[in-house]
Subunit: 344 residues, 2 copies
């Protein structure tokens, strides 16, 4: 909503929603308040300083390189597609020989601000995360760290790039993961909501501000807060009422603590419009339905259609763009004579 918009245009949607001038007036009066409350609950996201350029460039290649899979056909980007919000928009991903994955692929966008990685937080950071799917027999399915190193080391262009990026150590499995993580740390998507948090009151439309207010008033912000608008804590899915598809026991499988049954990392809501389908099982395709389920299972409330629509309007303001450099397809270095060939 731009400052020079006529005040009637600003008020008109509120009349429709609030029904009376009084409601509209209160909503506007609450405007300053709302920003202060939002600034206390959330934190704007910053693009990282453009450093470690050699590692980032190398990581960008590795992120897109299907040679890190047994079939030579699956890269990180296959399931974490930068063309579609860092996800594959499937319930769960397809891995080696089209095996169906166990959980929905979370986005790599802004993942660096999460308290830990994977839905169950079993990897402490992006570097540890990157080491997982490459060796997972149901995903990229390389047989060992040694095989991954052998493949990458056999590519003359990578030999050279690793020497430049990791002068002491060259190609190691750790360094492959570090480079991928360094690239992923650049996948940050500032949004209009960040402009709002930084003080630009007109960065959100009236409808979006109303949605933000509903989001905070109803309690969504209890978990979806901080720089990620989520991603900062673990929470039981089904706090108040069980989730209708409840099956996956979440962090319990890692910690064996009964208190962790059905506990998952709270996902970041940045770019949530693009990262459908929703939840750890990817069983819910509509954002409206996802919001309804959250209300019921986490807050014990039946959000009205209007409340849900308002929250969704706010959530769409969390869309952001990747930096242009991250949206470039890398040119992959050609294989060498000893590069292991794809297999099934």
């Amino acid at each position: 909503m731009h400052r020079n918009t006529h005040w009637l245009a600003v008020l008109a949607p509120m009349f429709l929603i609030g029904g009376t001038v009084g409601v509209a007036t209160r909503a506007i009066a609450a405007g300053d308040d709302l920003q202060v409350r939002a600034q206390a609950a959330f934190k704007p996201i910053d693009r990282p300083a453009p450093n470690k350029a050699v590692r980032v460039e190398l990581g960008r290649q590795l992120y897109h390189d299907p040679r890190l899979s047994r079939s030579g056909a699956i890269s990180c980007a296959s399931c974490h597609n930068l063309a579609s919000g860092g996800v594959d928009n499937r319930e769960t991903s397809l891995g080696h020989k089209a095996q169906v994955g166990g959980r929905n692929a979370p986005t790599t966008l802004n993942a660096s601000v999460h308290l830990a990685q994977f839905w169950d937080g079993r990897a402490k950071d992006l570097t540890e995360q990157a080491k997982g799917p490459i060796l997972n027999p149901g995903e990229m399915a390389l047989p060992s760290e040694a095989e991954a190193v052998k493949i990458i080391r056999s590519v003359p262009g990578y030999q050279k790039a690793f020497k430049a990026a990791f002068p002491g150590s060259g190609v190691t499995y750790q360094n492959i993961a570090v480079a991928i993580a360094d690239f992923e740390k650049t996948l940050v998507t500032p949004s209009r909501f960040d402009d709002y948090l930084r003080g630009r009151k007109d960065a959100l439309s009236t409808a979006e501000k109303k949605g933000l207010k509903t989001f905070m008033d109803k309690g969504c912000v209890t978990c979806h807060s901080g720089v990620g608008v989520g991603g900062g804590m673990y929470m039981k899915f089904g706090m108040v009422a069980p989730y209708k598809h409840q099956a996956d026991e979440g962090r319990f499988a890692i910690t064996k603590d009964p208190a962790d049954k059905f506990v998952f990392k709270v996902p970041s809501l940045r770019n949530v419009q693009k990262t459908y389908p929703y939840f750890h099982d990817g069983k819910v395709w509509s954002l409206d339905e996802a919001v309804a389920i959250m209300g019921k299972t986490q807050l014990g409330v039946d959000l009205s259609g209007e409340e849900r629509a308002s929250i969704v309007a706010f959530l769409k303001a969390l869309d952001g763009d990747l930096p242009p450099q991250a949206m470039r397809i890398p040119e992959l270095p050609v294989s060498g004579p000893d590069t292991p060939r794809p297999s099934l």
Copy 2:
């Protein structure tokens, strides 16, 4: 080789190869001749004029959109990866449910200059080609043209883009293919060889010029000529001696003409260094071996190691870069509420 290089540096490699000053002198004397001969046999490639921008942009999205597959996981770019020379560097590609394809995925780079599409030429142009894999049950496996149209039409962003790109007709299967083809027509990669053909004599090194001469003298140019350095005719694989992996009958399956047994489109050699493995069956991984096989099966000669290395040096000068716009990852428009979901 730059003009200001000392003449001894130019001659030295020739001494090693030719063994006598006489041979080196003849090679240099033949230099001008070689360019004239090359200009008669080949044609430089031009980047297309930047027109039809709306269709090209739309085609770039569709080329990368996995929603054009039944699983929602395979796009044109999966097998024709712009990060790796427009191919997937697999013997044959993996399609729906990891089915193994029948022939090696040919590159989309410079494909617009080919006389026809597919290894057997069964599609007359890129538009007809694009219609194939989407519906092929072993590839992207959509059940029908109608389903492809339903998917694309259900995406609000595509509705709008098709209206702009095809004002009369909007989303049709034909228009999906036309947009993809219009994007593919921009995948043109001028190389140093084109600079040479345009008159810049120092665009190729002495070794590369020697390789070009061998390529022409030995007869490779008989089939690998014109703007594509191939792609302009059909030829029997095994003219003089049978190919050791001979099995696929090529164009015979299309024409039923016994003269077409084992006949394939001669592939373009542009970017051949990146488009391994080689031949319609992808059974040969080394360019040196591919050149040796060509000598034996098509020309009836046993090329020496030195001759093969020289030809390979020339072939590497056919590498070119895609325009920066084609190397951008598109942002795909989000699905609508009625977009059909991926299945297996």
